[in-house]
């Protein structure tokens, strides 16, 4: 049963930040699309702006790995 909670915790550690990242990127993407309609030269900056929220899901992934490793459930 403990293993179930551990794996569930690891899954939530990735899933919740992933949802947050998706929501943030959807808002940023819409704003960037509107800006680029007027200023196409913003395209490179736009790619970077959209990538910034990925920090959340990457750190969530790290936390999930640490949870699994600590519990000895990985590998």
């Amino acid at each position: 049963m403990n293993l179930v909670w551990i794996v569930l915790g690891a899954a939530l550690a990735v899933a919740v930040p992933a949802l947050a990242t998706a929501w943030a990127q959807s808002r940023i993407g819409a704003a960037i699309a509107a800006s680029m309609a007027e200023k196409p030269e913003l395209s490179t900056t736009a790619v970077l702006m959209i990538a910034i929220p990925e920090t959340m899901v990457i750190l969530g992934f790290v936390v999930a790995l640490v949870i699994l490793l600590r519990a000895g459930a990985a590998g």
């Binding site: 490179t44 900056t45 970077l48 750190l59 790290v62 790995l65 640490v66 490793l69 590998g75």
Partner: protein, 627 residues
């Protein structure tokens, strides 16, 4: 490295101002400063012509630029010699523009006509035999309708309605077209035509109209003419293209000469507005690379005579924020200046981070990709782009950055023992020198965080160095770096990675430094110190992306045996590797850039530099350099 700039003042007799400005424009090295007005120095007197001329030039330039953009790639004849001819250029540019607009409109109309005819041809092909026989049906009228795709009930409903209204006195033929629409041909006795038209009107069904260009009459009469027209349209389009080429051959050279002259003239007018005059003299100020001052002075006096003087202003007379910025780096680092183009230029006198980007960006990229196979493929792509691109272009720089990234990816691949995931281990017995990424997650995380600590500490040290002229700020940044190092040492001592005896003196040092830090940087300094710790943790993404990459590669290799058929398995494996490679190009680039822009540059980068845009001739790229 930011090139050292010097501010110079050019002075001479007032009546030599125009000639001197022309000579300065020919030399093309002086970035003009705002007008040096004050005291006896005033802006040059402006007459109404000085207000009108820039507007007129911009109007002519608008037509010239439009013409050149729409003339196409036809080669130009040799440019005729001669002086400026603004009136003739204005007329010629307007005439060429009208001609090109007429050609474009005609081309658009022909393309639209062709699209319409192709649509009708589908209908005609579906009902060819019936339409040809239509003329022989006595006392009947034919109606041609297109039903929209997706409405499968429309045809039965139409048939039902016709049966109700016309009591079966009709013939209905339908064909599904390639576009998904349904072509319907309804033939009714002529005396029932009115009832049918009323039914179509009530149901809002529209008959396919005969295009106006083909006159009245039925579709059956118009369609053969339209099919014949399909053969004429390409010839007409070719004729219009030849007409455009003829215009380009005759007009391009003069238009390019006009563009160059008009842009130069606008730059001269702007330069005049940036000069100052007294009763008998003029003054022009600007910046140029300090090493070019003696040569500039010699050549200007050679062109304008000994009455024109060039003097260099002392460094204390101007502020760093005013000076334009030119980056100059060794050949090895120069491609990485492209990375800085996404940021505002650094302020003059601050640090150019290009060498540090050249060192760390490929390293971060390589650690995240970390595969010999992917590195070799990337190297091949980089070579291809390098071969196809011209020196000095963006693509050439991208290819060189990609080459550096490929090299570090191969080195990291050797350290981790990865060749297309675990294929190197399974086929060639490849062994890691450091550790295997998919197994040693915590060591990899430690490596990533350690790299982050070094990078952030370096940023803080660079921040201290760049603010050396402001002692309090330099003290604050240096102390932040020292305290961050102290926190790291204390944590390592607690974890017994370092001797535990280091803990007490480190903590004492931090407590002593804390109030000094607040004195130097203000009450927000502790918060910034904590955010620096958070910045270090952000480098964990190197581990996350690296582990994700190797896991995807391992899964791709496992596809070979999992599909039952070797051919299918190999195909899936190749597709997976392709997707992983595409992700490996995109994600590590974005995140390595982000680590530099946010975590690294945030510690020392002073944005807000002015781009070096020397006053020069359009043909020498002056106007385009400024844009």
């Amino acid at each position: 490295m930011i090139i050292a700039m010097a501010k110079v003042r050019v002075m001479g007799p007032r009546d030599q101002l125009a000639r001197t400005l022309s000579a300065i424009q020919d030399l093309g090295v002086l970035h003009l400063a705002p007008p040096p007005v004050g005291g006896a120095v005033t802006p040059p007197t402006r007459v109404p012509r000085d207000e009108r001329e820039p507007r007129q030039i911009r109007r002519i330039l608008d037509d010239v630029e439009w013409d050149l953009a729409h003339l196409g790639p036809a080669p130009a004849a040799r440019a005729p010699a001669g002086g400026p001819a603004c009136v003739a250029w204005a007329r010629s540019a307007r005439r060429v523009r009208r001609g090109l607009e007429r050609i474009r409109e005609r081309e658009t109309a022909l393309e639209e006509e062709r699209a319409l005819i192709l649509k009708y041809r589908q209908f005609f092909d579906a009902f060819r035999s019936l339409l040809e026989a239509e003329r022989r049906w006595p006392r009947t009228t034919a109606y041609h309708v297109l039903l929209r795709p997706g409405d499968d009930d429309a045809l039965p409903r139409l048939r039902q309605a016709l049966t109700t209204v016309l009591a079966g006195a009709f013939e209905l033929y339908d064909r599904r077209l390639g576009s998904g629409e349904t072509a319907v041909l309804v033939v009714v006795p002529t005396d029932a035509a009115t009832n049918l038209e009323r039914l179509f009107e009530e149901a809002r069904v529209e008959e396919i109209p005969v295009p106006a260009a083909y006159g009245g009459g039925s579709l059956a009469q118009a369609i053969p003419q339209m099919i014949a027209r399909l053969g004429d349209i390409p010839e007409e389009l070719a004729a219009l293209s030849r007409e455009r080429e003829t215009v380009a051959r005759s007009a391009r050279a003069e238009l390019e000469r006009a563009r160059a002259y008009l842009n130069d003239r606008l730059a001269q007018i702007d330069a005049l507005n940036r000069s100052g005059v007294t009763a008998h003299a003029f003054v022009v100020e600007g910046w140029l690379p300090a090493a070019d001052v003696p040569d500039f002075s010699r050549r200007l006096r050679s062109a304008c005579g000994e009455d024109v003087l060039v003097s260099e202003e002392g460094r204390e007379e101007w502020a760093s924020a005013e000076a334009p910025v030119v980056l100059s780096n060794p050949r090895l680092f120069r491609p990485f200046e492209v990375v800085l183009r996404l940021m505002p230029l650094p302020v003059y006198g601050s640090l150019d981070p290009t060498p540090f980007v050249a060192a760390f960006f490929p390293a971060f990229f390589g650690l995240m990709v970390g595969d010999i196979g992917y590195g070799l493929v990337l190297a091949a792509l980089a070579l291809l782009v390098h071969w196809r691109s011209r020196p000095g272009t963006l693509w050439r720089s991208v290819s060189e950055i990609a080459g550096a990234g490929a090299l570090f990816s191969i080195v990291a691949g050797v350290l981790f023992g990865e060749l297309f995931g675990d294929l190197g281990t399974r086929w060639l017995g490849l062994r890691p020198i450091l550790f295997r990424r998919e197994d040693a997650i915590l060591p990899f995380l430690t490596l990533a965080i350690s790299l982050g600590a070094v990078h952030v500490l370096l940023g803080l040290i660079l921040g201290a160095v760049s603010s050396r002229h402001h002692p309090r700020q330099a003290l604050g940044r240096g102390l932040s770096a020292a305290m961050l190092a102290g926190v790291i040492v204390a944590l390592l001592a607690v974890m017994e990675v370092l001797p535990r005896g280091l803990l007490t003196p480190t903590v004492i040092g931090l407590l002593v430094a804390f109030p000094v830090l607040i004195f130097a940087e203000g009450v927000t300094a502790p918060i910034e110190l904590l955010s620096a710790l958070g910045n270090i943790l952000s480098y964990a993404r190197i581990m996350a992306l690296g582990v994700a990459s190797v896991m995807l590669a391992v899964v791709a290799n496992q596809m070979v045996g999992a599909m039952g058929s070797v051919a299918v398995g190999v195909t899936f494996a190749l597709l997976f590797h392709l997707v992983n490679f595409a992700i490996a190009l995109f994600s590590p680039t974005i995140h390595a850039l982000r680590l530099h822009y946010v975590e690294f540059f945030g510690k020392f980068y002073s944005a807000g530099g002015v781009r070096y845009a020397p006053f020069g001739r359009w043909t020498h790229g002056a106007g385009r350099r400024a844009s």
